[in-house]
C-alpha cells in the first residue's frame, strides 16, 4: 500500500488527488524559473486536517534502477518519490518541498476554468488571479470534480465559468445542508446526516448503500410530487459519486469485507453472434430495379448491403447511389440528364482554378497554401497501389485535379489532410474523374465535421466513443481512463479517415459501403471502434498497457484487422446496447434513438464550465437527434417487422427501472437499488 510509505515523510501530508502534466503558466510571488514548468497538481490533506491545492514541479529527474522495466519509471518525479521511496531522500525532498506552490483551501476565493477546459485560474484575493495552470493532457474536468468535493462553490454571476467558494466545507456540513434541501428524511435531517456520517466511517458500504437507496428513490425513480425539489445539489451528487467510486473499487475486486456485491453492476445482455451475409449480387441488384432503373425498395437494398456489402462487379454502380450522387428513384433517362448537368458543373469549377494565372496565384496566398498541401499529399497517397504507382502516373494528376476542384466547390473547408485518403479508393474504383468527384463530395458531406478548423467534430466523436465504450466495455474504458487515455486520442486516425489506414483496399471498400447505409443506427462507425477495442481489451488490460503502449498497440493494429469479424462484433454490440436494461439517454442520443428522459446525466452534469465544446456539443447533439428521428422511423418498420425489438415497450417500462446510473470521471456506474435493498434486508 502506498499509504505506509507516506508515513515515512516527516510532514505526513496525504495526497487526496493528483494529476500529472500540469503546466504552471503564472503564479504571483513564485520564482520565475518555475514558470512554464510542468508539474503535478494535487489536493493535499495537511496533518492538521486542513487541505490545500499543491503544484509540485516535475523536474527532479533521476534514474530509478529498481523500476527499470517500466517504460517511464526512469523519469522519476518528486511526487513519485514521496509515494514510493523511503529512507535517504529527506534532504532533497525538503529542497523540493520549498519549491512547491500551495494554496490552502481555506484561502481559496474563486477559480475559473477556461480554454476548452484546459486552463484553471485560482484566486485567493478579490480581483487577482494568484495562479494559472494549464492542463496539458486531457483537461481540468477530473480535478475540478474532485476539488468540488472539498469546497462548497457557487457559479459566479459575474464571470463565465468561474466559481466562487462559498465556504471550505467539511463533507458533513455539505451533506447536512443538501439533505435538508432535498427533504428526504422524515426525521430531523441533522441527526440523520450525522448518523450517516458516523456510520459511513464504521460501515462504509452498508451506509452508503442505504443512503443511496433513499436518495435514489426520490431523485431517480420519478416521484412526481417531488418534481420541484429534484435538483439535487451538486455537492450531494459529488459525494455520491465519490462514495460510489469507493464502492465501485470493491465491486470490481469482487468481495468487500461485509458484503458480496457482485450483482451491483448491471451487465449487458450476452452478445449475439450475427453472421455476415453474402454481398449484394448483380442478379439481386438488377431484380431490385424496375425497367427504368429506379430502385423502390431502398430500405431493403440498404439492409442487404449492410448485411453483406456489394459484389465488386456492381460496386461502381451502387456506390453512386449510396453516396447520394444518383437519387434512388431516378430512371435511366433522368440520370443521363443529371450526369450531363453534373459534368458541366464539375468542369466549370475546374476551370475556375485552372484559369488562374501565375500572377493571380502569387497574390492569393490562401489558394497557394492549399494547392501546395494538395500536391504534397497527392504524392503521398497510396503510392504502393499499382493504380497510383510510378513517377509520372496520370492517375495522380486526376487525384490532384479532383481535390483542387473540391477546394473551389467548398472553399470554406478547402483541403485538409486526410481527404486524399478518402478520395483514392473512390477514384480507384470508378476511374472516371467527374463521377469520382461527385461521389467524393457525397462522402465528404457525411464526414465534413471531421475536418473542422477547430476539430470540434473530431472531439465530439471521440467523446461519444468514450461514452459508448464506457457503456459497452466498462472495464476497458476504466483502464483507459486510468492510463490517461480517456480522451481516446489514439483513435484519431481511425475516425478522421474512416479506418482508411487500418484496412487493405479490398476491405476498406467493404467497410465503407456497409457504413454508408446508415444501418443499424447512427454513428455505427463508433461501434466499429468499440468492437476493435473490445477485441483488444484483454491484451490492453492484462499487460497493463500505459499511455504510450496503448497508442502503439492501436497504431500497430493497422492491416491486421479482419473486417467481417469486426462488422459482426460491432453489430452484436449494437444489439447488446439497445437491449440493455440500463440504456441511458446519453447513449440513446449518440446512436440516434429518441430519449426517454428517465436519467439525468445527459445534460445537467456538465457544470465544468467548458466554453466552446459544450456549446458545439449540445448543438451537434440536438442536430443528430433531429437527424436521427427520421432515420429511426424508417428503422422502426424493419425492426418491428422482424419482431425482435420494440422500442415503444421499453419506453413504457423505463420509469419502473430500478437502477441508478451516475457518472463518475466519465464512467457510468449503475446500481440496482433492489439488489441493495436485498443486501440490506
Amino acid at each position: 500500500m502506498s499509504s505506509s510509505s507516506v508515513e515515512d515523510i516527516p510532514d505526513q501530508c496525504k495526497d487526496l488527488f493528483t494529476q500529472d502534466g500540469v503546466l504552471l503558466k503564472s503564479c504571483s510571488g513564485c520564482s520565475i524559473n518555475e514558470l512554464n514548468s510542468i508539474g503535478m497538481l494535487c489536493i493535499v490533506r495537511n496533518p492538521d486536517g486542513t487541505k490545500c491545492i499543491e503544484w509540485r514541479p516535475n523536474d527532479l529527474i533521476t534514474i530509478d534502477s529498481d523500476t527499470q522495466d517500466q517504460e517511464w519509471a526512469v523519469v522519476n518525479t518528486i511526487g513519485r518519490r514521496q509515494r514510493t521511496l523511503s529512507g535517504n531522500m529527506t534532504s532533497d525532498y525538503a529542497t523540493a518541498r520549498a519549491r512547491i506552490i500551495k494554496i490552502p483551501l481555506d484561502d481559496l476565493k474563486t477559480f475559473r476554468v477556461s480554454r476548452n477546459n484546459q486552463q484553471m485560474q485560482f484566486s485567493t484575493k478579490h480581483g487577482v488571479w494568484q495562479m494559472i495552470l494549464y492542463f496539458q493532457h486531457g483537461n481540468a474536468e477530473i480535478f475540478l470534480a474532485n476539488l468540488k468535493t472539498h469546497v462548497k462553490t457557487a457559479k459566479s454571476r459575474h464571470e463565465r465559468n468561474a466559481y466562487v467558494v462559498v465556504e471550505s466545507n467539511t463533507e458533513a456540513q455539505v451533506l447536512n445542508k443538501s439533505f435538508a434541501e432535498l427533504d428526504i428524511f422524515t426525521e430531523n435531517p441533522t441527526d440523520v446526516v450525522w448518523g450517516f456520517v458516523s456510520n459511513l466511517r464504521q460501515r462504509p458500504y452498508a451506509t452508503t448503500m442505504e443512503a443511496f437507496s433513499k436518495l435514489t428513490d426520490i431523485v431517480y425513480n420519478g416521484n412526481e410530487a417531488m418534481n420541484d425539489k429534484r435538483d439535487m445539489s451538486e455537492e450531494v451528487a459529488d459525494l455520491l459519486t465519490k462514495s460510489i467510486s469507493a464502492m465501485e473499487d470493491t465491486t470490481t475486486t469482487t468481495k468487500s469485507d461485509e458484503y458480496e456485491v457482485i450483482s451491483v453492476k448491471p451487465t449487458l445482455p450476452p452478445r449475439p453472434c450475427i453472421p455476415r451475409g453474402t454481398p449484394l449480387s448483380t442478379e439481386k441488384w438488377e431484380g431490385l430495379q424496375d425497367t427504368e432503373g429506379r430502385v423502390a425498395e431502398v430500405d431493403g437494398v440498404k439492409q442487404l448491403i449492410f448485411r453483406g456489402g456489394v459484389a465488386h462487379s456492381i460496386r461502381h454502380a451502387v456506390w453512386k447511389y449510396l453516396l447520394d450522387y444518383y437519387p434512388w428513384n431516378m430512371g435511366h433517362s433522368e440520370i443521363k440528364n443529371l450526369q450531363r448537368r453534373k459534368t458541366e458543373e464539375y468542369f466549370s469549377m475546374k476551370l475556375q482554378w485552372r484559369s488562374m494565372t501565375e500572377g493571380q496565384e502569387s497574390r492569393f496566398s490562401e489558394y497557394r497554401d492549399r494547392k501546395s498541401l494538395v500536391e504534397k499529399d497527392v504524392n503521398r497517397t497510396d503510392r504502393t497501389h499499382p493504380f497510383f504507382t510510378g513517377d509520372n502516373n496520370p492517375n495522380l494528376v486526376v487525384l490532384q485535379d479532383i481535390l483542387m476542384t473540391y477546394v473551389m466547390y467548398n472553399f470554406d473547408l478547402g483541403y485538409v489532410q486526410g481527404m486524399s485518403d478518402i478520395l483514392a479508393p473512390i477514384l480507384l474504383l470508378l476511374g472516371n474523374e467527374v463521377d469520382s468527384f461527385w461521389c467524393f463530395a457525397g462522402f465528404m458531406d457525411r464526414i465534413a465535421p471531421n475536418f473542422d478548423m477547430d476539430q470540434a467534430g473530431m472531439k465530439q466523436q471521440l467523446l461519444h466513443l468514450q461514452q459508448l465504450l464506457t457503456f459497452a466495455s466498462p472495464e476497458l474504458a476504466h483502464h483507459l481512463a486510468q492510463k490517461d487515455s480517456g480522451n481516446m486520442y489514439f483513435c484519431f486516425r481511425w475516425l478522421l479517415v474512416w479506418f482508411k489506414r487500418e484496412f487493405s483496399h479490398r476491405d476498406i471498400m467493404r467497410l465503407w459501403e456497409v457504413l454508408w447505409t446508415g444501418l443499424p443506427c447512427a454513428n455505427f462507425h463508433l461501434l466499429i471502434c468499440v468492437a476493435i477495442l473490445d477485441a483488444e481489451k484483454d491484451i490492453l488490460i492484462s499487460k497493463d498497457y500505459g499511455f504510450t503502449e496503448i497508442l502503439k498497440h492501436v497504431n500497430d493494429l493497422s492491416m491486421r484487422l479482419d473486417v467481417d469479424k469486426i462488422l459482426s462484433a460491432a453489430e452484436g454490440i449494437y444489439h447488446q446496447i439497445v437491449s440493455a436494461q440500463h440504456l441511458t439517454d446519453q447513449i440513446r442520443v449518440i446512436i440516434g434513438l429518441p430519449t426517454v428522459g428517465t436519467t439525468s446525466q445527459t445534460e445537467g452534469d456538465d457544470d465544468s464550465g467548458d466554453e466552446s465544446p459544450t456549446g458545439s456539443q449540445s448543438e451537434a447533439a440536438s442536430h443528430s437527434r433531429s437527424e436521427s428521428t427520421s432515420h429511426l422511423r424508417s428503422e422502426a418498420t424493419t425492426v418491428n417487422g422482424n419482431g425482435t425489438e420494440n422500442n415503444d415497450q421499453r419506453v413504457l417500462f423505463t420509469p419502473e427501472m430500478d437502477e441508478v446510473t451516475l457518472e463518475y470521471n466519465g464512467l457510468q456506474i449503475s446500481i440496482v437499488t433492489k439488489t441493495v435493498w436485498a443486501l440490506l434486508a
Binding site: S372, M458, R501
Partner: protein, 211 residues
C-alpha cells in the same frame, strides 16, 4: 529482467506538413528513405537505442501531423518531451517562417526547459532552395537554439542531429541530478539555471553544418 538501457528520452518532431519529419524519423530509425511515404495522420512514435558516452540511451521519438488544425490533438502528446526537433523545409519559405509559430506552440505546451534543435531539411534540393543556410543560422542565434541542415534523402546530418540533442539532454539531466543531490543543498534547481545561463550558444555553430 535485464536492464536494456540507462536512459529513456522522449523526443518530438514538429514542423509544417511535408517538411520531412516522418522521412527524418524513418532515416534515423530504419536507415532508409522512401519517396512515396504517406502523410502522418494523428501521431506515432519510433524507438531507437543509441550508445552515448558508454550509456545506453533509448530514444522514443514522436512524429506528429503537421497541419495546423490537428494541433489541438497533437499537442496533447508534447507532455513529458525532453527534446524537440523543429523541422522546416529549405525549399519552402513558409515552413521556415512558421518555425516561430512552432516555438510559440512549444512554449505553451511543453516544459520550459525542453531541449530544442532546428533542422533545415531537404538540403539536397539545392536547385529549389528558398531559405539560405545563413538565414537558418540567424534564426537559431535569435532563439539560442542549435541548428543544422539535414537531408533525410541523402542521409546527411540526421544521425548527428539526434545524437546532439540526446547528448544535450543527458548533460542537462546529469547536472540536475548533481544539483538535486549534493549534501546540504538548497534550492538545487535554481543553481542549475544559473549554470545554464553561462552556456552561450556561440561555439556550436562552427561545428554544426558541414554543407
Amino acid at each position: 529482467m535485464a536492464k536494456t538501457y540507462d536512459y529513456l528520452f522522449k523526443l518530438l518532431l514538429i514542423g509544417d506538413s511535408g517538411v520531412g519529419k516522418t522521412s527524418i524519423l524513418f532515416r534515423f530509425s530504419e536507415d532508409a528513405f522512401n519517396i512515396s511515404f504517406i502523410s502522418t495522420i494523428g501521431i506515432d512514435f519510433k524507438i531507437r537505442t543509441i550508445d552515448l558516452d558508454g550509456k545506453k540511451v533509448k530514444l522514443q521519438i514522436w512524429d506528429t501531423a503537421g497541419q495546423e488544425r490537428f494541433r489541438t490533438i497533437t499537442t496533447a502528446y508534447y507532455r513529458g518531451s525532453m527534446g524537440i526537433m523543429l523541422v522546416y523545409d529549405v525549399t519552402n519559405e513558409k515552413s521556415f517562417e512558421n518555425i516561430k509559430n512552432w516555438i510559440r506552440n512549444i512554449e505553451e505546451n511543453a516544459s520550459a526547459d525542453v531541449e530544442k534543435m532546428i533542422l533545415g531539411n531537404k538540403c539536397d534540393l539545392d536547385a529549389k532552395r528558398q531559405v539560405s543556410k545563413e538565414r537558418g543560422e540567424q534564426l537559431a542565434i535569435e532563439y539560442q537554439i542549435k541548428f543544422v541542415e539535414t537531408s533525410a534523402k541523402d542521409s546527411l546530418n540526421v544521425e548527428y542531429a539526434f545524437y546532439t540533442l540526446a547528448r544535450d539532454i543527458k548533460a542537462k539531466m546529469e547536472k540536475k541530478q548533481e544539483a538535486s543531490n549534493p549534501p546540504g543543498a538548497r534550492s538545487g534547481a535554481h543553481q542549475l539555471r544559473a549554470n545554464e545561463q553561462q552556456r552561450k550558444p556561440t561555439s556550436w555553430l562552427s561545428r554544426c553544418s558541414v554543407l
